[in-house]
């Protein structure tokens, strides 16, 4: 049973502290700044993304057939070239905000909540198919191609490939170091599981000063400590070296690998809470 407030509610300070404190419509629109795309449509003239393709690779909505219920509800399919491999056959989408160029608009201040999330699915036929996902102040794109991990200091990069290890491998790359790898200890690789949607979530909590990554409903923990059970893996061991505080971030999604590989993106999100002096 849900909770209903007949007189309404909001998420603002009260009227003594905020001029709109008596707004009762729910979330005040400016408190959080969020880019969220459910990919129920994909019109690059209006949706804020810029697309890069190489060697005939494609980025397009599916289903392409009304009978393909597996890809219903708005899915963006990235497909590598049918003739070229690696970056020469790669494709990517990158946030541009309608400007035609890469645009970083999400500040990772370290003093406010910051979060991102992506839901994607490898097909059962995927072999060498490397998905790259980046939240950084630069694009993963080199021109209009994707070349895999790049040494961009202010970024969080996630990369996985079901063909890159046994049975697969995925890594986290923050600033100038690989800071995490998922799934090696128990022999299961959640993020490379084929033919199943996976959700990767990142959240930074400014009060507890920790970051957590979660795959589907499982938090990925460092071994042993109580805190890892509470909060997930603590990546704060080397703040200066691994956490991109103080930069404005943008979303990038790239795909490369063998020919005619594809991956389906259900949705992607990135957001932060505005400091109280800004809403």
């Amino acid at each position: 049973m849900s909770t209903n407030y007949e007189k309404g509610f909001n998420n603002l300070p009260d009227l003594k502290n905020h001029p709109a404190g008596d707004y009762m419509g729910g979330d005040w629109p400016t408190k959080f700044n969020i880019i969220f795309d459910d990919f129920t449509s994909f019109d690059t003239a209006s949706n804020g993304w810029r697309v890069g393709t190489q060697g005939g690779s494609t980025v397009a909505l599916v289903p392409t057939s009304q009978f393909d219920s597996r890809t219903a509800n708005g899915v963006l399919r990235l497909t590598t070239s049918s003739s070229a491999t690696s970056s020469a056959g790669s494709c990517l989408v990158n946030w541009a905000g309608g400007s035609g160029a890469n645009r970083a608009t999400m500040p990772f201040t370290g003093t406010e909540p910051f979060f991102w999330q992506i839901r994607y699915k490898y097909p059962s036929t995927a072999t060498d198919c490397l998905l790259g996902f980046s939240v950084g102040n630069e694009s993963l794109a080199t021109g209009s191609s994707y070349g895999g991990f790049q040494f961009m200091p202010p970024s969080m990069q996630f990369q996985c490939n079901p063909n890159n290890g046994s049975p697969g491998a995925s890594f986290l790359h923050m600033k100038n170091a690989i800071v995490g790898a998922f799934g090696h200890l128990d022999g299961k690789e959640e993020l490379c599981t084929l033919d199943r949607y996976n959700v990767l979530t990142f959240y930074y909590d400014p009060k507890r000063k920790f970051m957590v990554y979660q795959v589907n409903d499982k938090r990925f923990d460092a071994a042993g400590t109580e805190r890892t059970h509470l909060d997930g893996q603590d990546f704060m061991l080397d703040t200066a070296g691994t956490i991109p505080f103080g930069d404005n971030m943008m979303l990038s999604i790239g795909l490369l690998g063998a020919t005619s590989q594809f991956i389906d993106i259900d949705y992607v999100m990135c957001g932060y809470a505005r400091p109280e002096e800004q809403f």
């Binding site: 003594k16 608009t105 938090r219």
Partner: protein, 336 residues
């Protein structure tokens, strides 16, 4: 209920099963079964926990994305012909509107959706509560005329006070007071002094002096219209003299003369990084209802009666140099 110890999750175990119900450190409240605000609690949609989207008309743009076809643009560029409008890198999603580089060059944007021309999305209803919030900056407050807010459709424009139309929101026009920059909050119609709030010492309001606003410093403003705000409403005394809205203390910022803003029907609040929310003075009719209680008659000289208004952003330079208006967000919320 909410706890100051942590994030309370109602009705379900947390993602980490052994830590049921409370995760330390976060002060938020989670409603995993959903939350709603339907006036009637037995409304069928309240059971699934979604908000009543029909309760308020909400227009909001965070400017992470600028869609050319959603805005009607009118440009005067006598200079080198290189005005620009677009999202730039920067925290929060920023729309930069830059004029060309000749004196009096201008850029006017009015929301149209995908229509062929700008269309009025809002009509000010004197019986309904309305909020308008904005965060923006200007690269030279002293030399630009600008407007952020609501306005009727215009494709020929000069200074703000030459618009001959209804303007609601923030306006600055240095031509109005000669060499002295002034900031106005228009809440009326006409071209004379349709001002409910004036940020200018000559008109006994609050002027943002050089120490208050610097070029390229973001400020926030919220305009509130509430026909019920002075009817039986009492706001407790503030606990922070300088920043609380209901403040009537002598310690108000210099230039602010107003009484308790919370009792006004049409208060305007200004905020910068150092000051916090500050109620702005009402020099003309800020506490007056635009209609006589018990009637539906409004004074069209001070109220945009039946005028279609649309989200609008405008900048005009007054020197032979590029001027820039950068908007973080514009939000307009009207009670249905």
């Amino acid at each position: 209920m909410a706890s100051n110890e942590g994030n309370v999750i109602f009705g379900r175990v947390s993602a980490v099963g052994e830590v049921n119900n409370k995760i330390k450190g976060n002060a938020g409240v989670s409603f995993p079964n959903g939350i709603s605000n339907f006036v009637k609690k037995d409304h069928p949609l309240s059971k699934i926990g979604i908000l009543d989207k029909s309760k308020y008309i909400v227009w909001h743009d965070d400017f992470n994305n600028y869609v050319t076809s959603h805005w009607e643009k009118t440009v005067v560029e006598a200079g080198s012909g290189d005005h620009s409008v677009g999202v730039i890198n920067g925290a929060g999603g920023l729309l930069e509107i830059a004029t060309d580089n000749a004196n009096n060059d201008r850029v006017l944007l009015q929301y149209k959706g995908n229509a062929s021309q700008a269309v009025g999305s809002f009509i000010m209803d004197p019986k309904k509560k309305t909020y308008m919030a904005m965060r923006f900056k200007c690269d030279n407050w002293q030399t630009c005329a600008l407007h952020v807010g609501l306005m009727r459709r215009k494709t020929d424009f000069n200074g703000l006070l030459s618009q001959g139309g209804t303007i609601q929101g923030l306006g600055i026009d240095p031509l109005f007071t000669g060499s002295e920059a002034a900031m106005f909050a228009f809440m009326g119609t006409g071209s004379g002094l349709p001002l409910n709030c004036v940020f200018n010492t000559a008109l006994s309001g609050f002027i943002p002096t050089a120490g208050d606003i610097t070029n390229d410093e973001f400020i926030e403003m919220i305009f509130v219209y509430d026909p019920n705000r002075n009817v039986g409403r009492s706001i407790p005394s503030p606990k922070n003299i300088d920043t609380f809205l209901g403040n009537v203390s002598a310690a108000l910022p210099a230039g602010q003369i107003n009484t308790n803003q919370t009792y006004l029907h049409k208060p305007v609040y200004f905020k910068d990084s150092a000051r916090g929310w500050t109620g702005c003075s009402a020099s003309v009719g800020g506490s007056d209802l635009p209609f006589t209680p018990g009637t539906d008659t409004v004074n069209p000289a001070t109220w945009p009666d039946g005028v279609n208004l649309m989200p609008t952003m405008m900048i005009r330079n007054s020197t032979a140099a590029i001027s820039k208006l950068t908007v973080d967000y514009l939000t307009i919320v009207q009670e249905r």
